[in-house]
Symmetry: C2
Subunit: 224 residues, 2 copies
């Protein structure tokens, strides 16, 4: 399978984290779509994903699954033992709720701030900006951080009693927040501690290296 | 279980359609939350759903699942035979992708138009509006209709070869579009035909009646 990807993109990071959690890295190869050049808004890419967003998972038969939640659901079901999206109805419900809430209240809000309240990907890509809306979404994201701080003050993970897709969505939000220099408020001790923990998690720690283009073999220094 | 609901709300309609498709109506009772009075923005309701949106499914133990996708996932899994969210990884992936795409490109866009580009729920509820953003989203929704017209020109349902959660999301978008008098473009023949079909479907046709408050018994006209 192919993952249409950009190595520093917060949304693509969600899928790479899911791949690592499921130990599926070897099943995919990464295709770089340069966000800074607007390659995700070109007709060739839009044919893969109408919404013009990364990541996209391209299956062996060429059909494409876009949207992080959908890709994660697919990957998690592949081996018949879902670990990220829940096994009981209750787990599935709570994971999907908190996953969506992390998008609405944090990750998507930071994204809108980036694309509308800052120069974003630059004037050649950001053809329309609404700065007032962008700044509102920045403030919403900070409120979202405070909400997730409250959640994580009461429980070790975002949705259920173990790491799930919903944690990955909050991680995506905090990755994006760092990129736009929107810090977690100093008094959000639970969220800050959780984020420090999550950054030690191999799937999160190694997320960028996973999709970095393979290096050419180093020249052998001394050949016998 | 309780469904926190508003009978004409397009998002709550998605859950009622899912309940009818799963034949679970008798398992729930509906609690009216008056959107026009802003009851969904009051502290009591925000304690159930941080995002302040309908619908919310309240389980027997009082815990709450918000977000239509999460509620549908829960309801669909309850009887062990999912019919709306897919059984294979591929079905699950495609249904979640198209469900999300229907939200982004149609339903959520119409919602933002309503709340920002029109008087929405009125000045007491709409405390901030960004008209320019609202009108952009209206135009996005019309493009979304054209996209789904293309999809439905090629296949009978939105995501897979049968009715699914993704169809319900598009239906939610078209319900909302009717409320804000945003018609399907005349040349979108496939979408118009599909929508006419869907409105004949009992779950869709009877969606408002399902949550209407039970009438008091009619007085008996002639008692012997």
């Amino acid at each position: 399978m192919k993952v249409h990807d950009w190595h520093t993109g917060p949304y693509p990071a969600r899928v790479r984290i899911a791949l690592a959690e499921k130990n599926l890295q070897s099943r995919v190869r990464f295709v770089s779509v340069d966000l800074w050049k607007g390659e995700h808004k070109q007709p060739g890419f839009l044919a893969l994903n109408y919404s013009g967003t990364l990541p996209v998972l391209e299956l062996e038969d060429g059909s494409c699954i876009a949207e992080c939640t959908a890709i994660t659901q697919y990957l998690d079901a592949l081996d018949g033992t879902p670990t990220l999206t829940g096994t009981t109805p209750r787990e599935q419900g709570f994971i999907h709720m908190m996953n969506k809430r992390a998008e609405i209240e944090l990750l998507d809000a930071v994204s809108v701030y980036f694309h509308h309240g800052t120069p974003g990907l630059g004037p050649d890509v950001e053809l329309y900006q609404n700065a007032e809306w962008g700044l509102r979404q920045r403030d919403k994201a900070v409120r979202g951080m405070r909400y997730f701080d409250t959640v994580l003050h009461q429980q070790p993970f975002v949705a259920v009693d173990r790491f799930s897709m919903a944690d990955i969505a909050v991680i995506g939000g905090l990755i994006f927040a760092e990129l736009v220099q929107l810090p977690i408020p100093a008094d959000c001790a639970a969220l800050r501690a959780w984020w420090a923990d999550m950054q030690q998690r191999p799937s999160v720690r190694d997320r960028v290296a996973m999709s970095a283009p393979a290096r050419a073999p180093e020249p052998v220094a001394a050949t016998r």
